[in-house]
Symmetry: C2
DNA sequence: ATTAATTTTTAGATTAACCTAAAAATATAT
DNA sequence: ATATATTTTTAGGTTAATCTAAAAATTAAT
């Protein structure tokens, strides 16, 4: 059975390897885990001994199939718990991350199955991220970043890329919520800021914000 | 902030000290914690340094007021989570202990407050044990063990003393559930077994089982 | 293609939580 | 009350997960 720490490593490596086809660097893991590269090397050797990671000195790491499935199962638990916290306990979407970070390590397959049923088998978590099924399959959401929209294109806001507290709080303040229909009106050439309309109102967002908003168009 | 292990020690010491006015022995803690006496001594010294336990070498230990409140808060979380598992996720009462043992360590006051409200501020858990309030106050339940009943006395079964899997499964099998009205008909002098009636049916239980059933009479 | 910079690994320590074996304190029994 | 048994503590060691500092490998730059 894996420790909380091992599970966290798997989860972070999974997140990193999804963004690249090459090996995940030791330093990038250290940054995500808020720890030192030397600690990461230690852990990689341990995970490699357990056949959860394919690790070659100085060459970066990838999860083994076994490791990938473990990582996805943690992501699954995380997202189900986040959904529970928001849907059932009325937490706001920017409050749930740290708590789900703890809950994701609770060990009980039966619990997760029952939780999922209790929530009505949700397919997406409160941030619009797909919830893997119990076989580790993930519904890739066919959405695209607002930063890639053309002028006058519109779409429904279905999820964030980055779900940090600060970004979610910003969206709260701007009154932008999942389900809103957003339309790109204009890109200011000077600073690349985006002029957006939603319902009746109009507002500006930075390019960075646009990159973090995922929409389903057509 | 306390580690899971420290929290478990506090919880077990609390359970033990409730049963006596004297110091809790190192060995009794070791037995509960499924560990060695020497490990317990280590931990007692650590908890004592943190002012959670009043520990005097060779003389046994008691929780400090601070330690007692911490212990009660863990018991509170445990019982709220057990209630959640049974009431909302449809677990049976003999399945929830190990999962609640993990959930009780999740750190978030807000979570526990919201969970409590979501459950409708329950006063007792699925085993009939009182749920401490957020100030650490506990509703002492005024019930008495069936073993202390007189012949022909009857009462409502409100809680178990021991909530081990095996005992709860035994009660399931015997079809004895919280809320049942039980009446003591006869005590067999030969083996001290108890003849009980519940509704229409009659059955025998051992003295040991009787000691573990708590009823509210009159 | 060497040198310089960066990344990664190793070596050696630390801390929490455990262990075994031995020593010390306390309790019990004759 | 002295010997014996039991309980508890100490001493010293282990493992997981971390750290710092130094060494080794890789990458970048002139």
């Amino acid at each position: 059975m894996l420790s909380h720490v091992e599970e966290n490593y798997l989860k972070e490596i999974y997140g990193l390897q999804e963004a690249t086809l090459r090996g995940v660097s030791t330093n990038s893991i250290a940054e995500k885990m808020q720890t030192k590269a030397s600690s990461v090397t230690d852990m990689l050797q341990r995970l490699s001994n357990k056949d959860l990671v394919v690790y070659t000195k100085y060459k970066g790491s990838r999860l083994s199939e076994k490791g990938r499935l473990m990582a996805i199962s943690i992501v699954r638990k995380h997202r189900l718990w986040e959904t529970f916290l928001v849907e059932k306990l009325n937490f706001l979407w920017d409050e749930v991350h740290d708590i789900a970070e703890q809950l994701e390590h609770i060990k009980s397959d039966k619990l997760i199955k029952k939780l999922e049923a209790f929530l009505g088998n949700p397919k997406f978590d409160p941030h619009g991220h797909p919830i893997p099924n119990s076989n580790g399959q993930i519904n890739k959401l066919n959405s695209v970043s607002l930063a890639e929209f053309k002028i006058k294109e519109e779409g429904v806001f279905v999820g964030v890329k980055d779900s940090s507290d600060s970004f979610l709080k910003y969206l709260n303040k701007m009154n932008i919520a999942i389900g809103d229909t957003l339309k790109l009106l204009y890109i200011e050439p000077f600073d690349n800021s985006f002029l957006i309309s939603a319902n009746t109102r109009q507002f500006n967002i930075s390019e960075n914000v646009a990159k973090n908003l995922y929409l389903r168009s057509e």
